[in-house]
């Protein structure tokens, strides 16, 4: 490209509507365009002209997706087999495959041996029904080029006994993956010096035991683990098995001095600890109601909270907040501090957040500079519920400026909550109230809403200029 950059396309010079011919441009630009097409369409360009006959073979991206139609399965397999032979796989940089494996594991392993070349940069495998262990080429586990790796399969990930090191891996996503024994799993997580983002969805850590994820570059952790409903029902019927469950999970310690964002959404299946993560500014801990495991939830969150002491933005489920309040007496409340917390969000699903909740009170009490609070899923307060809130969190006197309430339905308890917030918020600037369209979508609904709004405007305000915005 260097050679032809100065003296080439003079044809169109002087007129603005110059006709650019693609064929005048260097071939690697053609490859760039073709690499941005779906793989099948890139191959289709072979009929354009003789000079295009083999051009597609230089594509560096291959994206293969098996269709849902069962009668097209053989066709897909044949297609990949042909592609394997025809394409110049050594120049591949990105390879992604979505495939229901079934009894084709040996074939899949053979494909991977070719497509996953030593220079691969991005690999994405979304596999269903993997019945036998998947084998990735040996060289893959010491790749120096790999930057992005996504693996989704309900199967044990086979790791080699030799060194594992992904020197330049930045983004790692593992879904449904079953980790092998502690020896192998631990080594996998030690060879990731460049990792910035890790996503772990419904991974199984039972065999792995105690694992340390130590990544000096890690900035974002996202963990999601939902209990399998069916499996859960079985477990619930059998109390003994439930006890057994206690020793049947993984313990994961994350050492990440540069971690900024920690997101957890799950049913507390595994045990997580964060170590040296005081840089975290953004955290979400969505713990869900699960056979009333409040004690467990309280312990789970308390441990994370103490490691997230500098968080500026925090989002919790109401269940998590309540669990904290109900069980706090067994832990040392004084260890909690949210000295840098500016934005706080509570999400409620089954029961609406009650402003007099003790857990909520504890968090607000320890958040001296809190400015914005969001109640996603509504907010209520019993008629004299405000009397229970004692002392009033200091942040309402000095910092809380914006309160947002989603899912307002117009009940008396909701009005009480708004009334109370207006009464205590001395520096409050605005309360945003959002309704769901369908809640007031009946004859007279909009008028009722208007009436409620008038009522809110009449509430006494500690902060004279505070606005109320109803949407």
């Amino acid at each position: 490209m260097e050679n032809n950059k100065h003296q080439k396309h003079h044809k169109g010079e002087g007129k603005n509507d110059s006709n650019i011919k693609l064929c005048d441009l260097p071939i690697d630009i053609h490859h760039k365009i073709l690499s941005n097409l779906p793989t099948k369409e890139a191959i289709g360009t072979c009929v354009l002209s003789k000079s295009w006959l083999n051009k597609w073979k230089g594509i560096n991206v291959i994206d293969l997706e098996e269709s849902d139609e069962p009668n097209k399965r053989q066709q897909f397999v044949d297609f990949v087999e042909k592609l394997l032979v025809a394409c110049n796989t050594s120049s591949l940089k990105k390879f992604s495959l979505l495939f229901e494996v079934g009894d084709e594991t040996p074939r899949l392993n053979a494909w991977l041996a070719v497509f996953v070349n030593p220079m691969i940069e991005e690999l994405s495998l979304k596999l269903d029904r993997v019945e036998e262990p998947l084998v990735l080429p040996q060289h893959f586990f010491t790749s120096e080029t790999l930057t992005k790796f996504e693996l989704s399969m309900q199967q044990v990930i086979s790791l080699p006994p030799s060194t594992i090191s992904f020197k330049n891996l930045v983004t790692l996503t593992l879904k449904n993956v079953i980790f092998p024994s502690n020896y192998y799993t631990a080594r996998f997580f030690l060879g990731l010096p460049s990792l910035k983002e890790i996503t772990l969805i419904d991974c199984n850590w039972k065999n792995a035991g105690y694992i340390i994820i130590c990544c000096s570059s890690l900035q974002t952790v996202f963990i999601r683990e939902w209990k399998d409903e069916e499996e859960d029902d079985e477990n619930h019927n059998n109390e003994e098995e439930d006890h057994d469950d206690q020793n049947n999970h993984g313990k994961i310690a994350i050492y990440a001095t540069k971690l900024l964002t920690f997101l957890y959404d799950g049913d507390m299946i595994n045990d997580y600890s964060l170590i040296f993560t005081t840089m975290v500014t953004n955290a979400t801990i969505e713990v869900h109601q699960h056979h009333n495991k409040k004690l467990c939830a309280c312990y789970f969150m308390f441990k994370l909270f103490t490691a997230l002491c500098n968080v500026a933005k925090l989002s919790l489920t109401y269940f998590a907040v309540e669990a904290l309040g109900d069980q706090i007496q067994i832990l040392n409340e004084n260890l909690l501090s949210f000295n840098n917390l500016v934005e706080f969000r509570v999400v409620s699903y089954s029961s609406i957040t009650n402003f007099s909740s003790q857990g909520l009170h504890i968090i607000l009490q320890h958040s001296p500079i809190l400015e914005e609070i969001e109640f996603d899923g509504g907010l209520v307060l019993d008629e004299n519920g405000g009397d229970d809130i004692n002392p009033l969190p200091a942040c309402f006197e000095t910092h809380v400026k914006i309160i947002t309430i989603y899912g307002f339905q117009g009940s008396e308890e909701e009005l009480n909550a708004i009334k109370f917030l207006l009464k205590i918020g001395q520096v409050l600037e605005i309360i945003y109230i959002f309704t769901y369209e369908f809640d007031f979508d009946y004859p007279g609904g909009p008028e009722k809403l208007e009436m409620l709004y008038e009522q809110m405007l009449g509430f006494p305000k500690a902060s004279i200029d505070c606005e109320i915005a109803l949407q």
Partner: protein, 156 residues
Amino acid sequence: MAAEKSSIKIITLIAADGSVFEVEPNIVKEMKTVQSYIDELDQNTVSIPLPNVFGNDLAMIIEYCKKHASEEETKEAKEEFDFEFVKRMKSDDKLRLLQAASYLNMESFLQFMAKAIAAEIENQSVEFVRDYFQIESDFTPEEEAELRKENEWAFK
């Protein structure tokens, strides 16, 4: 920020139609062709003729570079900008900008334009693509039919 390794403060780019653009050095960093020119010179002010790029196109490229070089813009704002940027272009503009990106040796903008052009031909007929890229088929109808048959696996 403007004075990085050399003392150059403003770079003047002169397009094929004579229109003149004055930009800060960080804007042209992505343009390797321009950058190598600057690196060779040792002057306070630099003016660089770009005989293969038209003013309108250069204006668009500079707009793109400015947006993407900005540290204040969020990733989302940049994506939104990219989306609108592509929407604004006609098919022919895209090829011209691709050529300009190639000439200026701009890696990420080139990738961006390659993607925009790929989107242009995606799901289109062979005839459409030939027309757009100005490719004349040198296959006989028999050869083409044979080729399509041979590559049936790709056409389904």
